[in-house]
């Protein structure tokens, strides 16, 4: 059957920690979505930009939804947009913005697809204000051999609907979704507030909880640990000017060609932090283009490519408010002791329910990106970080951190077994699987 053909391809996670030769089906018609034999293990694949190998796995057929990227219906009065699951978030935002709407919850990579955003229940630029991706999804159509074709929403197949957010594609193939859009501000002003350390950052984040955009960048070096800037995006009126940036950035490619060697050494990390500090660590504010602000990774091609063939790891932990200062201090000591090569730390405020396997809850999330995570010293730091975070009630982001093991996740998420059992009821026989589900025993 046409479209049933399978190509064998080498696939790799965005952080480059996992790779496998996989069989890939690329359906280009609706009837081909269900053409695989019902007992064949499979997983949906969107933009292929998951950090952790969520869209491929050994012995699993990846169903590439690249052809299912169409806009299906748009209600410009109510801000409802129906799109196919393979549509990229960058394309959806461009369409929505050109019609006076936008999606507040947007991941940093513009090639992430709508199906991927649902499966990962991604967060955006201020999860404390906007929640996670589930908040803007009204319904989606899902296909699977066990349940056929159905439309799930909060009112129909509600358990399947809920389990599919942060369900990592294991509940079935999401085919299309109806999204609720929001009105963008007439203009956006980005205010910069320099902070000395992570404790001060937490205070600033809490004070600005209702901002349109809210995130911090921090130096991860021992000598300047936590020093950084909180970026606060405030809604302005039309008279408050436009960004000086004349041209929109091109979308970051799904696959970046890494440089032949890792360029992130202590000296280059120091130079980059010094440059960023000089550029950003000044109080002030300036207009910024919303489309540019939503996809900061578009301007980070060189940053990611510079990790080289060995790639990077992003550990992301959400620490409850009550424990954050203590955690930050313990982390500072750990960094001083081990001196890991942290290229970037970012902070965000969260204020949602810690549901199932989703990355949400009340607290401050700290994302830490490391070069060469397989080097013993770096891996040792990641283990120590996990212990520290668990010791302070931290919750890990399963779709960001390749270094997490099933045992670590079990300890960090008290409801892990219940969430796993819930997922299993929607994935009989483990038909849907991936590198991520194998590693975390989902």
């Amino acid at each position: 059957m046409r479209g049933f053909a399978l190509a064998e391809m080498a696939l790799r996670s965005f952080d480059r920690q996992f790779g496998a030769r996989c069989r890939v089906q690329r359906p280009d018609r609706y009837r081909l979505l269900d053409a695989l034999r019902p007992d064949v293990r499979r997983i949906a694949r969107g933009g292929g930009v998951s950090y952790v190998g969520a869209s491929f796995g050994a012995g699993v057929i990846s169903q590439d939804l690249g052809a299912f990227d169409r806009l299906l219906a748009f209600d410009g009065e109510r801000g409802l947009l129906e799109v196919e699951a393979g549509a990229t978030i960058g394309a959806v935002q461009r369409f929505a913005l050109s019609h006076g709407w936008y999606l507040p919850v947007t991941p940093g990579h513009p090639r992430a697809t709508i199906g991927g955003c649902i499966a990962a229940d991604v967060h955006g630029k201020n999860p404390a204000r906007d929640g996670t991706f589930r908040r803007q999804v009204e319904a989606f159509e899902l296909h699977s051999p066990s349940c056929g074709k159905l439309v799930a929403s909060a009112n129909a197949h509600a358990d399947l609907f809920a389990a599919s957010f942060a369900g990592f594609g294991l509940t079935g193939l999401i085919v299309c979704a109806r999204l609720r859009l929001a009105r963008p501000p007439a203009s956006l002003i980005l205010r910069r507030v320099p902070v000395r350390d992570l404790a001060e950052a937490a205070d600033v984040l809490l004070e600005a909880a209702n901002a349109r955009l809210l995130y911090g960048w921090h130096d991860g070096r021992a000598a300047a640990f936590g020093r950084g800037v909180i970026q606060i995006g405030l809604a302005g009126d039309a008279s408050q000017g436009r960004s000086r940036r004349a041209r929109a950035s091109r979308d970051l490619p799904g696959q970046l060609r890494p440089w032949p060697l890792c360029a992130w050494h202590r000296s280059t990390i120091a130079a980059a932090n010094t440059w960023l500090g000089a550029r950003w660590r000044r109080p002030g504010q300036a207009p910024i283009d919303l489309a540019e602000a939503l996809f900061p990774l578009n301007r980070a091609r060189g940053y990611f490519a510079a990790f080289g063939p060995g790639g990077m790891d992003e550990a992301q932990w959400l620490i409850p408010h009550a424990r954050f200062d203590a955690f930050a201090e313990a982390l500072r000591e750990e960094v001083a002791r081990r001196r890991p090569r942290i290229t970037l730390m970012a902070s965000k405020l969260f204020a949602g329910p810690a549901t199932d396997l989703a990355f949400d809850g009340h607290g401050i999330a700290l994302a830490i990106q490391l070069a060469a995570p397989r080097e013993a010293a770096q891996a040792g730091f990641l283990e120590a970080l996990a212990e520290l975070a668990i010791g302070h009630g931290g919750r890990p982001n399963l779709v960001k951190d390749s270094s997490l093991t099933a045992a670590t996740v079990r300890r960090a998420m008290p409801a892990f077994e219940a969430a796993r059992a819930r997922l299993a009821t929607h994935n009989p026989g483990g038909l849907y699987g991936s590198e991520l589900s194998r590693r975390l025993a989902l």
Partner: protein
């Protein structure tokens, strides 16, 4: 003015529909999958603000696809171009197909283009429009593989010549494109001797040339040299080729 794209739901046809819509052509899209067509029509309408009508038609079984197309068009609708991007190949097309399978391949690859061209010709002439046929480099010289497919595509060369002989250049433009490997589901997963061309790139070239004169073109152009060499190859040598 409306442009008719047959075989519009995937591959080159879908790319052509998108390229035409981006250049503000109203469209009638024809393909077998009603849901695929509806999705594409909605998408092109939303993105480009063009009017897109659809006709779901199983060309492998439709006795008179030309009449069905005419039925889907208002009498007053003027057709500026007919793009026949239809084509299907089948595993086993190496003298292993039965009569039914051969019939399906002939129906889609040859009968449908012939019938649709015949039905729409008066309206295309009235609008001084264009007929775009999509052949294949597989038809350059008969091989042990794609036997029926290549025979049908070779017949399109004859149709192209007939149309050109019958019509003055000012009355009807006739263009035949013969693509090599396109990165569509026809070639997905295949080990190819040459890199496959993105259908979007091929579509850009076809649409750009729509208002130019009649002619026969290879896609990409480099295949013209390959086709010429293949035709020149002595039979004894050609017979030994495996690809």
């Amino acid at each position: 003015m409306t442009t008719v794209v047959v075989g519009a739901s995937s591959g080159l046809g879908r790319a052509l529909a998108a390229e035409l819509a981006a250049r503000r052509h109203d469209l009638l899209l024809v393909a077998s999958g009603a849901r695929d067509l509806a999705a594409l029509a909605a998408d092109l309408g939303l993105r480009y603000g063009v009017e897109v009508r659809t006709l779901a038609l199983d060309l492998a079984r439709e006795v008179d696809p030309g009449a069905r197309l005419l039925g889907a068009l208002d009498e007053a609708t003027s057709i500026d171009a007919l793009v026949l991007a239809v084509g299907v190949s089948q595993a086993g097309d190496d003298f292993a197909l039965d009569g039914a399978a051969i019939g399906e391949l002939v129906a889609v690859n040859l009968h449908a283009p012939l019938a649709i061209v015949h039905a729409l010709l008066p309206r295309l002439r009235a609008a001084r429009g264009s007929v775009v046929l999509v052949g294949s480099v597989a038809a350059v010289r008969g091989r042990r593989r794609n036997v029926v497919y290549a025979a049908c595509k070779r017949a399109l060369v004859s149709l192209y010549e007939s149309l050109r002989q019958a019509h003055a250049p000012g009355d009807l433009r006739v263009q035949l494109y013969e693509p090599g490997f396109l990165a569509t589901n026809l070639t997905w997963g295949m080990a190819l001797p040459f890199a496959a061309v993105a259908p979007q790139r091929a579509a850009r070239r076809i649409v750009k040339g729509l208002r130019r004169g009649s002619g026969r073109h290879f896609l990409p152009r480099g295949y013209a040299l390959l086709a010429w060499l293949l035709r020149l190859l002595p039979w004894g040598l050609y017979r030994r080729l495996r690809q």
